[in-house]
Symmetry: C2
Subunit: 215 residues, 2 copies
DNA sequence: CGAAAAAATTGACGCGGATCAAGAAAATGG
DNA sequence: CCATTTTCTTGATCCGCGTCAATTTTTTCG
């Protein structure tokens, strides 16, 4: 469990100099947590930015009536909870580990130091803008696309256009991630199977080429 | 049409020193445009950040089937299209003037200069984080709230909890802004009128106190 | 291994809001 | 000011997906 190596693989820190990555490694607080761990809750005060090294984490908000609205599923190499560093001091979302995870935490004051370096700062701003773009696209998707298209977009974003996907999350979690109920996902999967486009057995999804360019 | 004064009123530039605001005023390119002007289109290359001084602008994305999905309605004092400054060089959304507008443009290179100043940079990052929070909340709203709640949220955000709202956009535009069709909005307004919560006559919306705390 | 819990499936049904079409009202522009 | 276009309204109909309930299947763990 080498922090430096983890940082080295995180795409967010790609453009950064070796020296500052080593400095960063000193600041980071590593932690491993089992599946279903609640990392933080919406509205709670916080003072760290997180970098996910391994596993998946779901960020969601609660609707007034208690439903979980998934904002984003975080995959390895991505940073989250950066929002609390500058603006308010409260997390705007809840974070739950969908699988066993390995995360690095970076305290506010350490990050503020790092931001003094121009290249780090530029990467940081670029990351924020990328995220803004992502959220913009997610809005468009959730509002205008049906469940099948959202499933396709999700798999594409998280795993790429592959024939075999080794999926670590369960169907309930996936349903939530694409803004649907488990029942609806179940029926969709049945239909995709009938159309010979996609099958889900155990932890493996097999997608036909046709799936990726379906109507 | 004093640029400095405009900047002085823009909340984005609130925390900034007088000196750098004056410098900024020199860089800004002011422009006034009539209603319905297309400022830029999704996918077009761009090289300026915009600050809206007066009027309203709709930022939207097109769905695959050509519907307009409104991401955000910009109000005076807000900045937009900052995304092209760092990340890619293409606008991620289309921008259309909902009313006659007055905007200031800030070219990429000028902004990059400004970002060298620590206080400006901090404000800039804070603005990005605020926007991220906004988009996060918009997702939650669009996914989990019905049209009536979305109407309430929109009016609240854009005009505040007022008894009388002078509305400059038309019903079609408002319907799009809350992710509904004009037909649905029309029926909703009829219902709100019947329930004595809200009336819309000409360019004026009158909302009863009860409207703001409706179920 | 076997019992209990959790996840997934299946069917019946209902609802919010989209769509389509037609007509009324309002805005626009010569 | 009138003619044309655009916006708004109203009714009828439809559909995707959620909800609820009942099983079935899978996972968990003593």
């Amino acid at each position: 469990m080498d922090i430096y190596r983890a940082l080295d693989h995180a795409r967010f820190f790609e453009g950064i100099t070796r020296a500052s990555k080593e400095a960063l490694a000193k600041f980071c607080m590593p932690s491993q947590r089992p599946k279903n761990t609640l990392l933080f809750r919406e509205g709670e005060p916080g003072e760290a930015m997180h970098l996910l090294v391994g596993g998946r984490i779901s960020l969601y908000k609660l609707s007034p009536d208690g439903r979980e609205i998934v904002i984003k599923v975080i995959k390895p190499g991505e940073v989250f909870a950066e929002v609390i560093l500058f603006e308010r001091k409260f997390y705007p979302v809840t974070a739950v580990a969908l699988t066993d995870i390995f995360v690095l935490k970076l305290l506010r004051r350490d990050l503020l130091d790092l931001l003094r370096q121009e290249d780090f700062r530029n990467d940081f701003i670029a990351m924020l803008l990328r995220k803004q773009r992502y959220l913009t696209e997610r809005i468009q998707q959730l509002v205008s696309q049906d469940v099948e298209q959202r499933l396709r977009a999700f798999l594409l974003e998280q795993y790429g256009e592959k024939k075999e996907i080794n999926i670590e999350i369960n169907k309930k979690q996936l349903a939530a991630a694409i803004g649907a109920t488990p029942e609806t996902l179940s029926r969709l999967l049945q239909d995709l199977k009938r159309r010979r486009l996609l099958t889900w057995k155990q932890k493996v999804i097999s997608a036909e080429p046709g799936f990726w360019r379906a109507v």
